[in-house]
Structures are given as structure tokens and as C-alpha cells.
């Protein structure tokens, strides 16, 4: 029996159907669903939303209070993170860096291993890993659970609701504000969080701009510069506030750059319609505190930390190697710093900073120790530093080292803060961008665009400052 194929039959039947039959199919499903739901659900009382939810929304999306609470909550999260992490970080640093490093040296001394082996493994790999753990673990162990609690409570969609108009004007998706905030903890996590955005175009915008959220690894640089260079300009009573304000200014600048770059991308290479937007404001749910602490510790903190450690170990080995391998009367590091110095000068930075950013691509956390170490070993040795060994100094000593041995000025500090905001993402983030986009082109854009902006901005500041005679 020779009958038409099923496909042909379908095509024939389709031809007989009215134009809007697809919508009709969807609608009959929805109508069925509505009918079943109506007969299955009984509403007691007045219905609608619980009073508590309405009251909370009234405050959290209020024209004045909404923004005030938003600012306050995020300030509180960062404040808890920064101040709460200081103690444990110091403790870990004493344990792992001061004590652990010395003990390890004492332990392997009887083995009489060649000096380059102990140097590479203990002074390079171990020390930088210990540094990253000490600097990163406490803030992340505080930041992620706090952020997760806000998320579980249902607050984040309200933030997206409050800020949507700004992102809409920038041609981006309203949910970009959520991945942006996630980026303040870790850019790699922020890039992954862009999955909540449906359209590829808007998701790419969110991915490319996520790096303008200052991640945990960069806060220490900003706080240190703010404290020893900018806070120091103010009378002692105000020093703390001025330092904090300078850090907040840079963070705010990051939001501005995010919106500007989103706007630029959505009007040029990523032009297109804004996708179907729908944001649900879910009911508030009391967070399960203990479970949240546990899951966010396991799921986010340790995962991010593991990646950072995996990245920091080779970086430490590299720093040690370039500081200790001598070629033509100087270490490789010295040659590199000399080569980078002219560009550094142009950007109001110096060769040491640029080299530090090169070796610290794996983990931004080691920027400051690397800068200190390179400055000390290449310049006059003030605190008895060994070649290629990272060390921790107090803020006063750090100031002395940078100004006396490194020749730093206020311009260097300001530009380092700007460069800390505007430079390539760390390698973990770059890998995450690649695995999320599977596009070499967009990974390259996300990597190179921030650094181009960084060169532009720091170069401009340096030129203006020099022309005006400030530096």
C-alpha cells in the first residue's frame, strides 16, 4: 500500500488549518490548566499576598527606602566581610606564612636538598599558596554565606526590580544586576550566574562587563592603597572614613563603567532587540540559616578557593624563578621590570606593578605581596627580604617600602586603584568565560576590553596629573 509519509500528511493537514492555530493550541492548554487549577484550589480569607510580603516589598522597593536599604545592606555585607576577615586572615597568615613556612624549612633542612628545590617549592609554591589561602578564605567564607542568605530570602530579584531601568537604558537585561553583584564576591561565580539571562546577546553583555565588579581578590589592593596613601592625606580622625570613601568611589566607578560598556556594546557589536523580559518577584522565604551556611561554604567558597589555590601555586613558582634566575648580571625579573618601566611610567604606574599583574593573572590576591617582594628585592633591601620570597609587612612598613624603595607617589596609588578595577580578568574567570560562551572571540573581548580601558584611563589620569603639575 503506497500511502503518503507521515510528514507529508502533516503538511497537508497543516494547510487546512487557520492561521493562528499555533496560538490556539497554546491557549487551549492554558485554558485547561486554568480550569483544573480553579477547581482544585480553594482560597481562604481575602487571598492575594500575605501582609508581611506586601510590607517588605513596600519598604524594599520604596523610592527612598528601597535604595537606602539596598545601599545599607551591601555596605553591611562588605563591611562584615572586610572587618570580619581581618582577624582570621591575620591568624591564618601567622600560622601558614610565618610559622608554617619556617617550620617547613626546618623540616626539610636535614634532607640537604639543593637550594633551588627548597626555594622553588617552599618559597615559591608553598608561600604563595599559603598567602592566597590566608587572604582569600576568610572573606569568602563570610561573603558567600551572607550573599546566599540574601538570595534565599528572595531579596535579589527586588534589587533587579529596583535597578532594571538603569540596565534597560544601557540595553542590558535587568537580571544583569544580579550577576554583577555576584561578581563582587568572585567574577568567575558572577560569569556563571549570567546563566539566568535567557538571550545570548544580553548574556554576553553581562559576561563582558562582569569584570568591572571588584572581586574579593581585588579588595585588599584597594583597601591598602586607600589606607596608606589616600586616608593618610586626611587628618587622623577622618583617615578611616576617607580611606573607605576612596574604596567605595572605585566600586561605584565600576558600576558606572558596567553601565557605560553595556550601553556601548548594545549599540555596536551586540545590537539587537531586548529579549522577552519577565522578572518574577518570588515570595519571601525565611532562609534556612545553617543549611545555607553549609551549602554555600561547600558549594561556592571551597570551589572558588580550590581554583584559586590551583592557580596560585604555579604563579608562586614563577615569581620565585624569575627573581632567582640570573641572566647577564640581573635576574629575569629585573630585566622584565626594566622593559615594562616605560609603559608603566606612561600609565602613572611602574614596571614592578605591571610585572606583578602579569604574574598574578592566575590570582589577583597575590598582587600586593608580589609588588612588595619585587620592589624590595630589586631596590634597596630595607627589611631583609630574600630573593623571590613573599612577605607580609605592616601598613606603615609597606608605605615606607613603596615610597622609599619603589619611588611611589599619590599618582601611583590612585592609578593602581584604577588599574585594579580596569584590567584583565584572572585566569579562572577567563576559563569560566570560555566554558560559558565557547567562543574564542568573546573570551578575547572580555579579556582585552578591560585592559584597554585600564590603559586608557590610567594613561589619561597620568597625563592630566603631570600636565597639571600634581605629579
Amino acid at each position: 500500500m503506497n500511502q503518503p509519509s507521515i510528514i507529508d500528511e502533516a503538511t497537508r493537514l497543516r494547510g487546512q488549518l487557520p492561521d493562528g492555530f499555533r496560538d490556539g493550541i497554546v491557549e487551549s492548554l492554558h485554558n485547561d490548566a486554568a480550569r483544573i487549577a480553579e477547581t482544585s484550589v480553594t482560597e481562604h480569607g481575602e487571598g492575594g499576598r500575605p501582609t508581611l510580603d506586601r510590607l517588605l516589598d513596600g519598604a524594599l522597593t520604596h523610592r527612598v527606602w528601597g535604595f537606602a536599604v539596598m545601599g545599607l545592606l551591601f555596605f553591611a555585607v562588605f563591611w562584615f566581610t572586610i572587618s570580619g576577615a581581618a582577624g582570621p586572615s591575620g591568624l591564618l597568615s601567622r600560622l601558614l606564612v610565618d610559622y608554617g613556612h619556617g617550620q617547613l624549612h626546618a623540616l626539610v633542612a636535614p634532607l640537604h636538598a639543593p637550594q633551588w628545590v627548597t626555594g622553588l617549592l617552599l618559597d615559591g609554591v608553598y608561600l604563595s599558596t599559603a598567602w592566597v589561602v590566608a587572604v582569600m578564605l576568610p572573606p569568602m567564607a563570610i561573603f558567600f554565606p551572607l550573599f546566599t542568605l540574601l538570595e534565599d530570602f528572595g531579596y535579589l530579584p527586588r534589587v533587579a526590580f529596583n535597578l532594571d531601568r538603569l540596565f534597560a537604558k544601557a540595553g542590558a537585561h535587568g537580571k544583569q544586576s544580579l550577576s554583577m553583584m555576584m561578581g563582587y564576591g568572585c567574577n568567575a561565580a558572577g560569569v556563571t550566574a549570567t546563566r539566568i539571562i535567557d538571550s545570548r546577546r544580553e548574556r554576553l553583555i553581562a559576561i563582558v562587563t562582569n569584570n568591572f565588579s571588584i572581586c574579593n581578590g581585588r579588595w585588599p589592593t584597594l583597601i591598602l592603597m586607600g589606607t596608606i596613601f589616600i586616608g593618610a592625606l586626611a587628618p587622623p580622625a577622618l583617615a578611616g572614613v576617607v580611606a573607605a570613601a576612596s574604596v567605595v568611589t572605585v566600586a561605584f566607578l565600576g558600576v558606572l563603567v558596567t553601565l557605560l560598556v553595556s550601553w556601548g556594546l548594545s549599540r555596536t557589536v551586540l545590537r539587537g532587540h531586548s529579549s522577552t523580559y519577565s522578572l518574577e518577584l518570588p515570595p519571601y522565604r525565611p532562609p534556612k540559616v545553617w543549611r545555607t551556611l553549609y551549602t554555600s561554604l561547600i558549594d561556592r567558597t571551597l570551589k572558588v578557593l580550590r581554583r584559586a589555590v590551583v592557580m596560585a601555586a604555579p604563579a608562586g613558582a614563577l615569581v620565585w624563578t624569575i627573581s632567582n634566575v640570573t641572566v647577564a648580571d640581573a635576574s629575569i625579573a629585573a630585566h622584565l621590570v626594566n622593559a615594562l618601566d616605560p609603559l608603566g611610567w606612561l600609565l602613572g604606574l611602574n614596571g614592578v606593578i605591571l610585572l606583578a599583574y602579569l604574574v598574578a593573572i592566575p590570582a589577583n590576591e597575590i598582587i600586593i605581596p608580589t609588588i612588595l617582594m619585587l620592589t624590595l628585592t630589586l631596590g634597596p633591601n630595607l627589611f631583609g627580604a630574600q630573593q623571590g620570597v613573599m612577605l607580609e609587612l605592616g601598613t606603615a612598613q609597606t608605605h615606607t617600602v613603596l615610597v622609599q624603595a619603589g619611588g611611589w607617589t599619590l599618582l601611583t596609588a590612585v592609578n593602581l586603584m584604577l588599574f585594579s578595577l580596569l584590567h584583565n580578568p584572572c585566569s579562572t574567570t577567563i576559563l569560566t568565560i570560555w566554558s560559558e560562551t565557547r567562543s574564542l572571540k568573546w573570551t578575547a573581548v572580555a579579556t582585552l576590553l578591560p585592559i584597554a580601558l585600564g590603559f586608557l584611563v590610567t594613561g589619561t589620569t597620568a597625563t592630566v596629573a603631570r600636565l597639571a603639575g600634581w605629579a
Binding site: 509519509s5 507521515i6 510528514i7 500528511e9 502533516a10 493537514l13 497543516r14 487546512q16 488549518l17 487557520p18 492555530f21 499555533r22 490556539g24 493550541i25 497554546v26 491557549e27 487551549s28 492548554l29 492554558h30 485554558n31 485547561d32 490548566a33 486554568a34 483544573i36 487549577a37 480553579e38 477547581t39 482544585s40 484550589v41 480553594t42 482560597e43 481562604h44 480569607g45 481575602e46 487571598g47 499576598r49 500575605p50 546566599t148 538570595e151 534565599d152 530570602f153 528572595g154 535579589l156 530579584p157 544580579l178 546563566r195 539566568i196 535567557d198 518574577e280 518570588p282 515570595p283 522565604r285 534556612k288 553549609y294 551549602t295 554555600s296 561547600i298 558549594d299 561556592r300
Partner: protein, 287 residues
Amino acid sequence: MPHTELPTPSVNPAPPTDPVCGTCALNHASQLLSLGVDVSGHDHVVALAGNPNTGKSTVFNALTGLRQHVGNWPGKTVIGAEGGFGYRDRRYKLVDLPGTYSLLSTSEDEDVARDFLVFGRPDVTVVVVDATRLQRNLNLVLQILQITDRVVLALNLVDEARRHGLSVDERHLARELGVPVVPMAARSRQGVPDLLETVERVALGTIATRARPVHHGDVRTERAVSELAHRIQREYPELTNTRWIALRLLEGDPGIERAVTDGTLGRLAAPAASTESFTDRSGKTHS
């Protein structure tokens, strides 16, 4: 929907098939494998579907003991997680599908979820629905029921519904849908034992599920669907979801058209008994 027999329970007394049957066209394990699911060591495959933000991941965690982070914003699970759990000597593979509002193929997520249900043919599909948003959730349930009727409805967030002054008549709902309904509050682990029990009974076929067909208001559409479904039924008498396939073909769904022309549909229509189980009674794997 013209119903054939309910699929044979998967306690399969037949001797184990060839271990290299991953390439054999009749084995639905190979279909699962091609969708990226390793089924070795499991007696049944359970799919977990549902709208975004219904507590699907919480149910997943409650069943598997995994601690996948669950956020309170819609659309967290994009790439489905997999996990396993055991219940009364049987091992289950749980596949978390992306949270979607619908399966009408308007996004990549919807395609992933739909392909898994159609071509992966899970033994049981648990659809997690939010009791406080039943209407919107039922839309997805009705679509899933057109594909498979081996469904358990996990009516989640009943505690929250109570807080909103809503109560759901789950017996009426079960009657309307033709599948068992388990009320749950997964965040506080309420209803998990009931869900496990019901999943087992649907997997073993001791609960007969019988999904009700969706009729289309428009007479012409209804006639076309029936006619095409009839035609498909003649060609593949073992297929249980002919009306749904007819509907997709009428809409010109490229994925389903491909499945018809390249023979995938024919393989799905192979007798159910030989495809339902990929482990023998002792639970030894031979995939």
C-alpha cells in the same frame, strides 16, 4: 489520547541482554547514553521536571542527599544535575531537567527537557509544582502528560500555600490529571517518604497512571490532530503519545520531524518490555 496498555513493569525476568547493547537500536539505555546519562548501576531512571523556582532543586537534594545550592530566584538550574538514590533495594538515577514554563521549544532549556522526556524515556517523571502557582505550573504538567503518563506530581510548597490562604484538593487534582499527587514541603523534608513510595509504585507499574488528553477548542485543529494521530498509531502501534507527536508535526517542529524521518521514532515504538529495563532482577548492570 488513544491508550495502549500501560508499560510493562520493569521487573524484567528476561535474561540480561548483551553487555555491548549500547549500540543496539532496541535498547533505550543507548538513547539515554546518547543524551549524556550514564545509567550503569541503576534500576530505574527518574526525570525531575518543573517550572523555575518551584523547589525542584530542593526536591533533588532531598532525594539524593546532594547539597546543590538552591537560590530563591527563578532559573537557577541550567545544566541539569544528576544524582542517585536507593529505595527498598532498588537504585534510581535522578536527572534534574532545566526548569521551564513550557516544552514548546522556545528556548534551549525547553529543548533539553523535552528531548529527554521524549527520547530518553525516563521510567518515571516527577513534576515538581508550586502549590501557590498551580495554574501556571499545570500548563507544563499537561504538556508533559501528553508525552508520558508515567508521572508523579510533587505538589510542593503546600506550607507556603497555607500561608497564602490557599488549599489544594490533591485528590481532585489527581483525578483530573490521572496521575498520583504527593503534597510536599521539600524545604522541611515533608512528603519525601511519600514521594519515594509513589515513585517506586509508578516505576513498578503498581499504580496505573492514565493521563487525560487535552482537547483543542478549535474543531479544525482537533480534527487534524486526531486524523494525524490515527495515522501515526497505525504505523507505530506501540507509541503511547501519538496525539502529542501529531500536534508537534502539525506545528512543524523540526526535532520531531527529524525523529520521524531518521527512524528514531520507530525505535521508540519498539515493544516496551524489552526496552524498559537495562538491569536484571539482581540489580547487576550490563550496560
